[in-house]
Symmetry: C2
Subunit: 348 residues, 2 copies
């Protein structure tokens, strides 16, 4: 690799002059500069970024932490998040260092290597956990960071984050169903230990309250975020909630499972059963029939995370550091509540 020293040898100017000529300082003779620039091009000079980092005590790098193995259900999420982050970071000449290790012992090790080892100027955390030890560590290390997703409503969320406004999204979806005439609407939530579960619960309750429909705990279940969970909940609804005509599911896989379970019992989705999903990935779109869905703008979350983090890194923190992005309700099937279904359910 060509170094400043090589250019110095070639042109006869000192390393200092070369550095300043290439950096665009105006205390360099224009003729000298041209000569140096030409030499740099001829020799294919690229500054050694590592040396720059050491000197500047800045890395022009954003760290991205994604615990992986515990999220088999969110395939596609990272693709989009990464695109958003990569684009926004690149536009500001930042690179992205990803730590994608499975959660476990090693995870914290590579984590500390990145943070304590000065490999990044700031971090994006892709999932928070309850009382996250990583956040405590970042605080102590005074490392700037932003989080994708906030803590549960009953926990303190005293860090900068960007999240999708899932409460409003679920409320919107539920209100949509109510407007179509549905009054007995099931809700399939994520497991209770997940931070965002309660927001979705509240969105559902809000919509019912606004319409004057009483909240019925029998219409609210927790699923496992996979198809099997959605199917189990739907079967349970069918068996216990006779008047139910619509179900809101907290993610697409559960919506798909619910759909298939209902179809297995003879329901026609879009005719005598309405199902709404919540989009991590575009599965709802590919279902048959396509399902109505609440879409999360994941690419935008990625972009906005960078746009939130960079000012913090550069020492001019923005006022607004907790941002909720709107979701979008994509209606793919409008199914009213006029169920024509009567009598017993088919057994399969």
């Amino acid at each position: 690799m060509t170094r400043l020293k090589d250019l110095s040898l070639k042109t006869g100017f000192s390393i200092t002059t070369i550095s300043r000529a290439l950096a665009g300082y105006d205390d360099v003779n224009e003729q000298t500069r041209q000569q140096i620039i030409r030499a740099a091009q001829e020799m294919g000079y690229q500054p050694n970024e590592v040396a720059r980092q050491l000197r500047a005590q800045r890395t022009q790098t954003i760290g991205l932490i994604i615990p992986t193995h515990d999220q088999p259900f969110s395939e596609g999420f990272f693709d989009q998040l990464m695109r958003g982050i990569g684009d926004a970071a690149g536009e500001s000449r930042f690179d992205v260092l990803v730590s994608a290790r499975a959660a476990g012992d090693d995870e914290m090790e590579s984590y500390k290597r990145i943070v304590g080892g000065n490999r990044v100027d700031g971090l994006i955390l892709a999932r928070t956990r309850h009382h996250d030890e990583r956040i405590a560590y970042l605080r102590k290390a005074k490392m700037p960071f932003v989080v994708s997703g906030r803590a549960a409503p009953d926990e303190a969320t005293d860090f900068p984050f960007i999240d999708v406004d899932s409460q409003a999204g679920i409320q919107h979806a539920t209100a949509h169903l109510i407007a179509l005439g549905h009054t007995r609407i099931g809700l399939v939530l994520p497991p209770p230990e997940i931070a965002y579960t309660e927001f979705r619960h509240r969105g559902y309750a809000d919509a019912l309250a606004a319409a004057g429909i009483p909240y019925d705990a029998g219409l609210v279940l927790h699923g496992d975020l996979m198809r099997s969970g959605g199917a189990a909940c739907m079967r349970h609804f069918i068996e216990t909630q006779a008047g139910l005509t619509a179900v809101v599911c907290s993610n697409d896989l559960m919506a798909l499972g619910a759909m298939q379970a209902a179809q297995g019992r003879g329901y026609r989705i879009g005719h005598d059963m309405a199902i709404v999903g919540f989009d991590d990935l575009p599965i709802s779109e590919h279902a048959n029939p396509p399902l109505t869905t609440v879409r999360q703008p994941i690419y935008d979350i990625g972009r906005r995370l960078v746009e939130l983090l960079l000012p913090i890194i550069l020492g001019r923190p923005p006022q607004e550091t907790q941002i909720l992005l709107p979701t979008q309700l994509i209606v793919r099937e409008s199914c009213g509540a006029s169920s024509s279904r009567k009598g017993d359910w088919p057994s399969a």
Copy 2:
């Protein structure tokens, strides 16, 4: 951040001794070492990785280049690839620097910053292009690299790669259909300009030849890798190929589109029409009915890419540098060729 100098001040030993004590050299008095280790723990010492990198002229970092915008159809692919790469790299204490910029002018800029700027020890290229300028650059810079996916069969593939053996995969799938009794089998390929298209074409032709079934060019179409393309091809097959009973699609989205188009024309998938997909993402599994699919082991590709690259970086290149991973045929629906369909197609 605590530096060696701080530990030196605290313990009274020289920076050199501290460095060697922590590095585990055995020419350090054991008592001294204990004292130093304790101090390091108390002060939360983490070595500055950037300084190490500059000193060692090695970064312990793998670069991953993923052009993003031109692949809207492969959502989920990088999720899995990244997991495989992240796990394997982390196990060898390597970090991963990702360049996820959209293809374009800036792309080459951030690319050169990473490669020429000594930010990585080696690179993984996630998609090759025809006569890829990035590969030429890497060669000139003598930067170790491996590629996910090989060049088309008629282009020279003179670089280390790992690819899925799509030729064998498609052959396997086609043979499977033939074994079920199908003789008129459609093939929906990716666009001809994509490097791997021809491999899939050959796999199909191989299976026909092995079974003594004549190749019919009317049964081979190119789709756009999206649902619309699969649907268009299926409609074309239905209109022009009366005896067709099965279709092999080059990816899952097209398989899904083909399925929906066939269902729209009154076919019952798994009864009078068999469809096989090729798995970038698990859509086939979620189809209704679930489709038979050729599954790509993408996580493994990620792992193996790292396992191929690291020895090259460390100067002990393996003999085998061009690796084809087997696909897996997942049969979800066994549909024989005994179509009961007669007469006209329904118009919708």
